[in-house]
Symmetry: C2
């Protein structure tokens, strides 16, 4: 797509006048269209609107998708939601990247209006001839509309004739004219009068990885680090890390996320367990960036060279993995910027550079940039730094604390990268209040960390999954991480291995992107006292791991299995397609995800049920009541009989399930099912 085409961002142009058939409250629309809704190619986007008219006549609505070049791509019928709410919903499926847009059309449905009248009057014997003749005229009009294919045209014309010709009874004529076949044709080719149009709203489509991914986080220096009783620690390097990629790729992860690999400062370097003073052998936090060896555009010399980095990226790519790099915009006191550009920091009245503070706490190892001092200079430098890494194959950045930097900086950066490198994705690591998190997403971050780790009870999980499936979820694109190097919740600290199993299942199926921090396989669940992060945190020391331990083997296999299931099931690679099903148990959640054939990323209809106990301590039993309609499954022949074939992808067993599913889930094993749904037989 040309840069000029990309620049033609559709903007809402609200019409001054209300339409003949009013359309209001169109969604997904953010701040009146100031920022676009979001999707990836072949993602089904729910479009909603309030549509109504004067009087009692029937209306219809159509969702219209407009391609990046401004031409209508597709139109699909919308359907009313609920009774008497005047709310309509439809779905559109863009199929390529770019700046798309959508609108809603509303129209009078004279055949629907007539049918409502006819179905009352004809059986009552009121005005029969008049009603049938009126219907015939409407069907004839429908059949002669522009664009109706000849077969549909024939069916509608026949319906018109059936209403008025021959000698059948009025009731039989009506029935013949409104057969299922005729209704199906009308669904695709309705007679539309008083066509009215909403404003056109923007929809940005970026590459699939923005929505879908399985991330694996490592500290490269730990991969291959060794402790020798005599010589002490030998750091892992980019070259030794490379040897660990096979194991990660074998588990099915497709994004390898590296914490910062830049030179680490020495002044006020933190020691083990965040100690204020480091000892000589402490490697320091990779988030204290910058030393005499360079800053954000350099590689910590002990890790290797750009050649080593290129080799790592190349090997990851061979294995089907992208490399994501941390972007932590803060400096150690030894960062080259501190001497080259002291004006980029805050100088206090006493002439010293201000370190980070949260009074009375001081973080003397970190100098925050002051973007307001030289916005242009800092912007150009950071863009240059990003381009260094982009040139070395990094197309994903995990942005550390974006909510502590000015939003206009990010918006400008994201806009410029969208023009020059639309495949570059930025993940926002902002654990803060909702308006900031929402707005970071609105201005262009492609994906967001979120509160997943703190949603643990059934009520919390059900509410959260439903939230993620709504408009804000679609803009923020959640990445679900059960733990990170900064996060080890009480649930994970106290739930044993079962907690790690439960949260892996939930993260892998709760959203299309999930992430695992290395060591998860070993159930590393001991916290530094008084904190909610790991003891002996890898941020401050080397942490080689032995995954051949029994726990490691079991968990490694489970993570691999989860990624295989995700790969096999397009329904699990979509966000907005969730249905929560009620269960009788206070700790067991049941939800399903479904894509129909026409909206499936790989053209294959798919439906998966997740039935999961959230209790790492006790076995749970109960009943889940399935909403068959949401599963696309017909009701059973008789109540109590099976309605579907349920294949448990984890255990390999297959059941026949009805609307009531009895379950027994034991945290001693895997207390959940991930079930592939198929019709009976």
């Amino acid at each position: 797509m040309s840069s000029a085409a990309r620049r033609r961002l559709p903007r809402p142009a609200p019409s001054a006048a209300i339409g003949r058939i009013p359309i209001v409250e169109v969604g997904p629309v953010f701040e009146g269209g100031r920022w676009p809704a979001r999707a990836v190619p072949r993602e089904s986007v729910p479009v909603t609107a309030t549509v109504f008219r004067e009087g009692h006549d029937r209306v219809g609505a159509t969702a219209v998708l407009v391609g990046p070049e401004g031409k209508v791509h597709s139109s699909r019928a919308m359907w009313p939601v609920g009774q008497g709410l005047d709310r309509w919903e439809g779905r559109v499926v863009p199929d390529a990247e770019g700046e798309w847009s959508f609108r809603v059309e509303a129209w009078a449905d004279p055949i629907g209006t007539w049918l409502h009248e006819a179905e009352i009057k004809i059986p009552a014997g009121i005005d029969e001839d008049l009603v049938l003749a009126t219907g015939a005229r409407l069907f004839a009009k429908a059949s002669s509309q522009v664009g109706v294919p000849s077969e549909a045209r024939r069916i509608l014309a026949a319906a018109a004739a059936a209403l008025v010709e021959g000698k059948a009874k009025a009731t039989d004529r009506l029935e013949a004219a409104v057969s299922t076949k005729v209704r199906d044709v009308l669904q695709d080719h309705p007679l539309r009068e008083h066509l009215s149009t909403s404003a056109t709203y923007p929809l940005r489509v970026v590459r699939e990885r923005a929505l879908v991914g399985a991330w694996y986080e490592v500290f490269p220096r730990s991969l291959g680090a060794e402790f020798h009783p005599k010589t002490g620690w030998r750091t892992g390097t980019l070259r030794t890390a490379l040897k660990h990629l096979d194991r990660i790729a074998e588990m099915g992860f497709d994004v390898l996320y590296l914490t910062p690999i830049h030179p680490i400062g020495t002044t006020f370097r933190k020691g083990r367990n965040n100690a204020l003073e480091a000892i000589a052998t402490d490697p320091g936090s990779p988030y204290a960036i910058g030393s005499a060896a360079g800053g954000h555009d350099a590689i910590e010399p002990s890790l290797g060279t750009f050649d080593d980095f290129d080799a790592l990226v190349a090997r990851a790519q061979e294995l089907g993995m992208e490399v994501a790099l941390d972007l932590a915009l803060q400096c150690s006191p030894n960062h080259p910027w501190v001497t080259e550009h002291p004006e980029w920091f805050t100088t206090r009245l006493d002439g010293t550079i201000a370190y980070a503070e949260n009074p009375p706490k001081k973080y003397q190892d970190i100098y925050p940039l002051n973007f307001d001092n030289d916005p242009e200079g800092i912007y150009c430098e950071i863009l240059r730094v990003l381009k260094v890494w982009m040139a070395h194959g990094v197309r994903i950045f995990r942005v550390d604390n974006p909510h502590t930097k000015p939003l206009p900086f990010w918006e400008r950066l994201l806009n410029e990268l969208r023009e020059s490198d639309p495949d570059v994705l930025l993940l926002a690591e902002a654990f803060t209040r909702p308006p900031m998190m929402h707005t970071l997403a609105l201005i262009g971050f492609h994906q967001s960390y979120n509160y997943f780790a703190w949603r643990n009870t059934k009520e919390e999980v059900e509410e959260y999954l439903a939230d993620l499936a709504g408009p804000w979820g679609s803009v923020m694109r959640p990445a679900l991480w059960p733990t990170t190097h900064d996060i080890l919740t009480p649930f994970m600290q106290w739930g044993g291995q079962a907690a790690f199993v439960i949260r892996a299942l939930l993260a892998a199926t709760g959203a299309p992107t999930w992430g695992i921090y290395s060591g998860y396989e070993l159930v590393e669940n001991v916290a530094r006292p008084g904190s909610e992060e790991q003891i002996d945190n890898e941020k401050y020391e080397f942490k080689p791991r032995d995954f051949t331990l029994e726990t490691g083997v079991f968990m490694t296999e489970l993570l691999g299995q989860l990624n295989s299931i995700r790969a096999a099931h397009p329904a699990l690679r979509r966000l907005r397609n969730i249905t929560i099903h009620p269960t009788s148990d206070a700790a067991t959640v049941c939800f399903s995800r479904r894509v129909e054939e026409w909206e499936s990323p790989d053209g294959k209809a798919d439906c998966v049920i997740v039935l999961l106990s959230l209790d790492p301590q006790h076995a749970r039993e109960g009943v889940a009541w399935l909403n068959l309609d949401a599963l696309g499954i017909a009701p059973p022949a008789e109540p109590g009989k099976p309605a579907l074939t349920a294949h448990d992808e984890l255990s390999g067993t297959t059941f026949e399930w009805g609307t009531e599913v009895f379950f027994s889930l034991d945290p001693a094993g895997i207390p959940g099912h991930i079930v592939s749904v198929a019709p009976l037989g």
Copy 2:
């Protein structure tokens, strides 16, 4: 205001870029600014926004009101709502009619940021000199800002000096510099950095009567109608009606609403109690408009002439009342339009004109207009009809069933009238689903009937009053009618006189506009069986009334008293200023309304508490817990002591109330208090 100025409707122009201090979710904004928020002159309009910034530094926000000519009228500080929500609220007060607009400014608050740091560091003895010197520099900067008056300038400069000069302890210096006096100056003249601006959103201001009024509804033919045993009924006329105006004006009503006065059709005329066949002496429904004597631009000959009408209007105006006329856009089969413009109706295939239907029901006395057949012709004719009545002094129309006519028709009409006759007001009588009711208001109806009559329990009333005070209430402008000629709810049918007392108190205080249908004084509460409207409905017969009966005298006096109280209390003439106070009783509501001096329509601070039992059968006792802050009253000297003087405007008695108010309300009398609030002493 010139017509050109009116045409310069402010439109939102969302900036492409996020501001330095982000501002989102500004309100009141409807459909992204497609339609304006609403107010009347001297009405305080709550402005809300989400304002936040990166990091932990403090922010502030200002609500800016822009006059119809595009110049800033006033700016007022906003304040944060709740804790950690990033929501801000402020109020603006336009003072004249016209197309105003508003926006929100957000800014960094370096003094607030410094103060937060100083109040932690100074007591802890950290960096004292540096902190104080930094503060002095900020205060000096604040004092030298453009537009700061000299006295404020002096106070800020003194604060700067106090921080760094002399020999006082650091804690004392800090205290001196941030005295209440200094904080007050900073409230009005904050040091604002990184000033950021939201889009500008429209705010339409129309005359006071759109929001505030006391309506009284009559069927003119009943006023002075007489039955003579020998000659039968003699109709009331516009001339006899005129004699009844004194009584209505004495009660304090200021809008006299006349049901239609046009010629009434004879074909399929309805008889008493909606009988399908009328007898010769039945006068017919005034809503079946049109006969050989004329249509919507004519007066039913038996009522009188335009001269008589002019006399009625003139007398009403002398008495301080405006005349509101019904606009019921439907025709009897005898309407002149039926023969002159058959194309304005729907012609069925058999050549007959379609009457109104709701199959299988037929309404053969009514021909609905088909606006789509000749939108231009019908529009011009109806505008002509309205101008006939406007020329005869009618500036308010009560529009019957606007939701059965196309919305573009109304929007065009309302737009054109706004240009030519901005004082003309239209009240929408649309009892239908919320989207239609909301949208009628958005496209320009000035006031709306609503669901008030069906909100009877404590929960319903509390929720409804709070709703009415919100954004939709401000656009719809509710008119609260306890009964109308179409509405007699079960509550009114079965609650006796007490129900009429209760609902009158609630309607008079629940919103700035209330309405009483003649006969309310006589507690006319008998319904036609199977319906929720009065038996022997005045729509189909003459209904002279004797208000000198004991009930009539009592209720007349009560209605008059309510209007007097409303006239004396500006707080009761505002909509958005409500606070609900909890009570211990399941049937008693307590709410207050308050205007501060600067936002009061008459420049006078005012606060009123309404304490009302909703139970027409039983005496209720309990406690109301007053939110003193919402009343603008300081807490009592000690718990349990009085905090305010409460003058009951209904009984004339005066109490001293604390935060807990014990009440005993008996439906045998008046089970409510309307209390004027004043500080003690």
